[in-house]
């Protein structure tokens, strides 16, 4: 009979997590790996540290890649050394869907979790390849801060962060959020603040940037700059990219109104680093509504630590949005331990 020493280790985890780092893996941002450290004291969430870390945030694509990549030797700067770390993983092989059939659960190569988000809806199932989850869990060594306590897919992490957005909290709870990622946009519909619909559309801000870049024949950095500029009207270039997304959103809104008796009262765009003006304009033209622009840092409104200088990566208009999943991953852990 084996000695269950591993249970001792698990027992040590029973203490609630009040201080955690959220980190994004696999996003492939040029600035580095987004990471934030949040601490909850007396019910107030404080931003202890935030920034892009120089870490190899590339995700292994195959099990062989995972075996070849060194693990157990990652370290973070002193300001980020919370006891635990929560990962938000961007993986093309991950899935997040509402489905009564959770076929992936039987797949030994996939690690999945299912949970109902609303009483009368099929459960939401989240899955990640086993080798990617196991690789992420081993990145930080034991006996040194931080160690992994949570692995989430980027979309669920972003939703966790969005739930803390003050604009959403002030709304009636019947709302649709567009969580804009580089390669896709997640549509999350809420009824009474409960998630009732989740869809992914394969258009992200990277596609908009590429469209502008190719049409204007400028590099991507310049395209980002142009998207924030008012000198050129980019609507003709962007509309073909975004129209299917907004059409999908329109269908979803119609579904909510007719099938769930849930008239959408507010629309939010979250995680969009650039070009909001064009997204908003097209949105208004197609859906007749004005979306609310959300930033990750808004979720920390009320905390003195959120008063950051404009040059801080979290406060900057472009890079601040790239922390959406990192902040959400940390919020999810803190909420789970509340």
């Amino acid at each position: 009979m084996g000695t269950p020493f591993s249970k001792l280790k698990a027992g040590a985890k029973t203490a609630p997590v009040r201080d955690v780092v959220g980190m994004v893996l696999g996003a492939g941002f040029q600035q580095g790996v987004p990471a934030v450290r949040l601490a909850r004291k007396n019910g107030v969430d404080e931003l202890v540290a935030g920034g892009f870390l120089e870490l190899p945030g590339t995700l292994p694509v195959t099990p062989d890649d995972a075996n070849a990549m060194p693990v157990g030797n990652w370290q973070v700067p002193r300001a980020f050394r919370a006891p635990h770390i929560a990962f938000a993983i961007h993986s093309e092989q991950a899935f997040l869907r509402q489905s009564p059939e959770t076929g992936e659960k039987g797949d030994p190569h996939m690690r999945s979790v299912s949970r109902a988000t609303a009483p009368d809806l099929p459960p939401l199932t989240v899955g990640l390849p086993e080798f990617q989850a196991a690789w992420a869990a081993r990145l930080f060594p034991e006996g040194r801060r931080p160690t992994a306590c949570s692995i989430q897919v980027a979309a669920t992490a972003a939703i966790s962060g969005f739930l803390h957005n003050p604009a959403f909290r002030k709304s009636g709870g019947n709302a649709v959020a567009m969580l804009v990622f580089p390669a896709y946009t997640a549509l999350a519909a809420f009824q009474d603040s409960l998630l009732v619909l989740y869809r992914e559309h394969p258009v992200g801000f990277r596609h908009v940037r590429e469209a502008v870049s190719s049409k204007m024949r400028v590099d991507e950095a310049m395209a980002d700059s142009v998207l924030d500029d008012t000198m050129v009207d980019l609507i003709p270039m962007i509309e073909p990219v975004l129209r299917p997304l907004f059409r999908q959103l329109e269908i979803s809104v119609d579904y909510l109104a007719r099938r769930r008796d849930c008239p959408v009262e507010a629309f939010f765009i979250y995680g969009l680093p650039t070009g909001f003006r064009y997204w908003s304009s097209l949105f208004k033209r197609i859906l007749g509504q004005t979306p609310v622009f959300c930033r990750p840092l808004d979720s920390l409104a009320g905390s003195p630590s959120a008063a950051l200088p404009g040059t801080h990566p979290l406060a900057a208009s472009y890079t601040g949005q790239l922390f959406m999943a990192a902040l959400g991953a940390a919020f999810a852990v803190l909420d789970d331990n509340a």
């Binding site: 000695t3 020493f5 591993s6 001792l8 280790k9 698990a10 027992g11 040590a12 985890k13 006891p83 635990h84 690690r111 999945s112 979790v113 949970r115 109902a116 988000t117 609303a118 009483p119 939401l124 989240v126 990640l128 989850a133 196991a134 869990a137 081993r138 930080f140 060594p141 034991e142 006996g143 040194r144 801060r145 931080p146 160690t147 992994a148 306590c149 949570s150 692995i151 989430q152 897919v153 669920t156 939703i159 966790s160 739930l163 603040s193 409960l194 998630l195 999810a332 852990v333 909420d335 789970d336 509340a338």
Partner: protein, 221 residues
């Protein structure tokens, strides 16, 4: 319904402790150290017990080997005590000697011509009275006093013209310092004067007398 949106894909066994002191490592190590310490303590206790037993055995052998000599020494010491007590007792007897010779040699010079000493007797001293018995203490079988009275009895006859004066003169001389070393008190006991009748009727002036002298006591010290 859990409102938390935390879909955590990490397994419980993958959650590692950030503490540099790892309980799952330290507990077995501490357990082993405790067992080792107990083993060392037990070994030390065993060694000490063994050494104590060996010492006990050696002491027992020594005691056995010395037992005969010890008994001999005890017997010799008892004999020595007995002999020392005898010597001491003999010393007491030596110290308690009452020397009559000087006084008796001097006595003829003080005896008047009309007195004839017929008897000079040192009686056996009467045993001293036994001390009152104490409850619970058995009566002593041997004399317990170190003090013994000594007396000297002189008997004689006095004649002449004034025999009584002659007797009084002798009595007075016996009380003089010349005899003080021996005689403490001298007296004529009542009834000790009497007329001698045994020698015929013509000697009506001859008196028989006795003088009782109390001498210095013998002290067995």
């Amino acid at each position: 319904m859990n409102t938390s949106f935390h879909f955590n894909l990490i397994k419980e066994e993958e959650m590692l402790s950030p503490s540099p002191v790892r309980l799952r490592v330290m507990l077995p190590v501490l357990s082993l150290l405790l067992v080792a310490a107990l083993a060392v303590w037990w070994m030390l206790a065993l060694t000490r017990t063994h050494a104590a037993n060996q010492k006990l055995m050696a002491v027992k052998i020594d005691i056995d080997s010395l037992r005969l000599s010890h008994q001999t020494i005890l017997a010799l010491r008892a004999e020595e005590k007995e002999l020392a007590a005898s010597l001491r007792q003999m010393g007491f007897y030596t110290n308690s000697l009452v020397r009559f010779s000087e006084a008796l040699c001097r006595l003829p010079e003080h005896v008047p011509a009309d007195i004839q000493i017929t008897e000079l007797y040192v009686p056996q001293p009467a045993p001293p009275p036994a001390p009152p018995p104490k409850p619970g203490v058995p009566a002593a079988t041997a004399p317990t006093s170190t003090f013994e009275r000594v007396s000297l009895r002189l008997a004689g006859r006095a004649g002449g013209g004034a025999p009584a004066d002659a007797i009084n003169s002798l009595l007075a001389d016996l009380r003089k310092p010349a005899f003080a070393s021996l005689i403490v008190r001298a007296s004529v006991p009542p009834g000790a004067f009497r007329q001698e009748v045994a020698r015929g009727t013509g000697n009506h002036n001859t008196l028989l007398f006795e003088i009782q002298c109390e001498c210095s006591p013998r002290r067995f010290e």
